[in-house]
């Protein structure tokens, strides 16, 4: 889930986790309405919401142990396993209050893994981390997803989503502006740069094509947003009107541009 601060990402996560009561609408998790039996769904979900929060007076291991006791049927070996998984075993006996932000985030992820959930929700997991910590978390997320589970990542960091996610939902003020695979979104919003002699005439021709989403003139180039596979159709349409392109460049717009286009050029609230 990608969106600017205040887009509603954390509220959606809060509603999925039964922390926030929806005023209307309904939430289906694993094909079941959450209202019917939230606990059966929650048992299959692990989540770290915003920054991780644990008891400061307990060690990392004790924090996981108290969680394991309340969940039930989780062995001490499993606690060791998840601590090892997030590279925290050597600091497991240290108090949580002495952990760095990166260690806190990793403990948060370890807590989600305790019961081997089918779905992991990570809300801004790289918040407050240094570049090395960010990389560590970003490397860990795809690994988690490759273990036969889904990971929902909430972020306002476009490059993070582009690097880590396979599918993206772009939100703004609680409205879903796009919901597609990252590849699809990038392909659909691919830009073409065309060099022609008569840019004004070419602009007029191409603006009339239904599959062209936007056109503009930039630095003497005609820039249009259109599906990548339609490049030959662009060329054809121009040639039919006696305009021949001297250059036609496919430009990958990147999630940032897609995001700015979808949110009207301003990602802020």
């Amino acid at each position: 889930m990608l969106g600017p601060n205040g887009a509603g990402k954390s509220t959606i996560v809060g509603m999925i986790l039964n922390l926030v009561t929806p005023t209307r609408g309904r939430i289906e998790v694993f094909g079941r309405d959450l209202k019917d039996n939230p606990w059966s769904a929650l048992k299959k979900i692990g989540a770290v919401i915003e920054s991780p929060a644990f008891y400061p007076y307990l060690s990392g291991r004790d924090n996981l142990e108290s969680l394991a006791i309340s969940i039930g049927d989780i062995s001490r070996n499993r606690i060791t396993e998840v601590l090892e998984r997030v590279n925290l075993l050597s600091r497991a006996k240290d108090k949580y209050s002495n952990y760095s932000m990166g260690m806190k985030q990793r403990l948060g992820i370890a807590s989600t893994l305790l019961r081997d959930p089918e779905l992991i929700i990570l809300d801004e997991p790289t918040n407050g981390l240094d570049p090395a910590g960010m990389k560590e978390i970003r490397d860990l997320i795809p690994q988690l997803a490759h273990e036969n589970r889904a990971v929902i990542l909430c972020s306002h960091l476009l490059h993070e989503v582009e690097q880590v996610c396979t599918r993206v939902a772009i939100l703004k003020k609680g409205v879903t502006l796009a919901d597609a695979s990252v590849q699809e979104l990038l392909t659909n919003h691919r830009m073409m740069e065309i060099k022609v002699d008569d840019t004004e005439k070419a602009l007029k021709i191409l603006s009339g094509l239904t599959w062209v989403k936007s056109t503009k003139i930039e630095n003497g180039y005609l820039v249009l947003e259109a599906p990548a596979e339609n490049a030959s159709l662009v060329n054809k349409a121009l040639a039919e009107q006696g305009i021949f392109a001297s250059e036609l460049i496919q430009r990958n717009s990147g999630l940032e541009k897609v995001f700015l286009q979808l949110t009207g050029g301003d990602g802020r609230e």
Binding site: N18, L19, L42, A53, L58, S66, L67
Partner: protein, 283 residues
């Protein structure tokens, strides 16, 4: 529910504050016993002071249990308020409530587990402090050269102290639930502790003033805490010299005291559960 209770007890056991509260309460009992011993020595060494006849029974071992219980009904309540307000309120302060709630248990069960776990700690606290008070009484009696006579410990004495033990816990309960309610309302430990402890100390000061005002204002204390606490505390076998606050002619009957304090417990608990269950957990 049992898993949640186990987890809450685990956290309380690992928490420094639990042990501090326990040791502070025991320390208060020890210090008060030592002070009583010192006062009794001074009273006995000044026969002309007139205090001797009253002070001579201070060291009586038979009075140590009801005396400790009487003290614990106030100190214990302070400690119970601190424990419950910090246990529930700090979940908001530390934002750990979300983790507890998404572990797949209901909010009602979670809050119930927290209340029960703190109640268990309070029972242990009162029992241990009581034992400390009794041991201190034996020690001070030995120091004073009194014979250690345990013949008072009959079945009826034991039964009456057993009842007073549970009465003391009942007295603590409304304060504890008030601490809980205000911690939930304020989503923090501080409002619970401030309101709970504040009322515990302010009410005994305001009660005589309201009684002195006369008219309908004089009736108000009968529906507050301290008058009803005193009415229940008066059931102990404590010599009159040790009784705190009681003896007012307008004191409520025992039944009224149970009903009023019970009503507070029910209302505080119900509102706390309603708010805890109803409100969104955000931030």
């Amino acid at each position: 529910m049992s898993k949640l209770l186990h987890a809450e007890l685990f956290k309380l056991r690992k928490r420094g504050m639990t042990w501090i509260v326990l040791f502070v309460t025991m320390g208060i009992i020890v210090i008060i016993n030592l002070l009583l011993y010192a006062i009794s020595r001074i009273a006995l060494s000044n026969p002309g002071s007139g205090g001797m006849s009253r002070m001579v029974n201070i060291l009586d071992i038979s009075a140590s249990i009801p005396f400790s219980l009487s003290m614990l009904s106030s100190f214990g309540a302070v400690m119970a308020v601190i424990l419950i307000a910090s246990t529930v309120g700090n979940e908001y302060n530390w934002r750990t409530l979300r983790i507890a709630l998404i572990s797949g248990k209901g909010r009602v069960q979670l809050l119930a587990a927290k209340i029960i776990s703190v109640a268990v700690v309070v029972i242990i606290l009162v029992a241990v402090s009581l034992a400390v008070g009794f041991i201190m009484s034996i020690i001070t009696n030995a120091w004073a050269g009194n014979s250690l006579d345990f013949s008072f410990f009959t079945a009826s004495y034991g039964w009456s102290q057993f009842l007073q033990f549970w009465r003391t816990l009942f007295i603590i309960l409304p304060f504890m639930m008030m601490g809980l309610l205000f911690a939930v309302i304020g989503r923090s430990a501080m409002p619970g502790i401030a309101v709970g402890v504040g009322i515990l100390f302010l009410e005994p000061i305001l009660t005589p003033l309201m009684r002195a005002a006369g008219g309908w204002v004089a009736e108000i204390p009968s529906y507050l805490f301290s008058a009803n606490v005193n009415a229940i505390n008066a059931l102990s076998n404590l010599p009159r010299v040790f009784r705190f606050g009681g003896g007012s002619q307008q004191a409520p009957s025992t039944i009224e005291a149970y009903l009023v304090l019970g009503a507070y417990v029910v209302v505080f608990t119900a509102v706390a559960f309603y708010l805890f269950r109803k409100r969104d957990v955000t931030g």
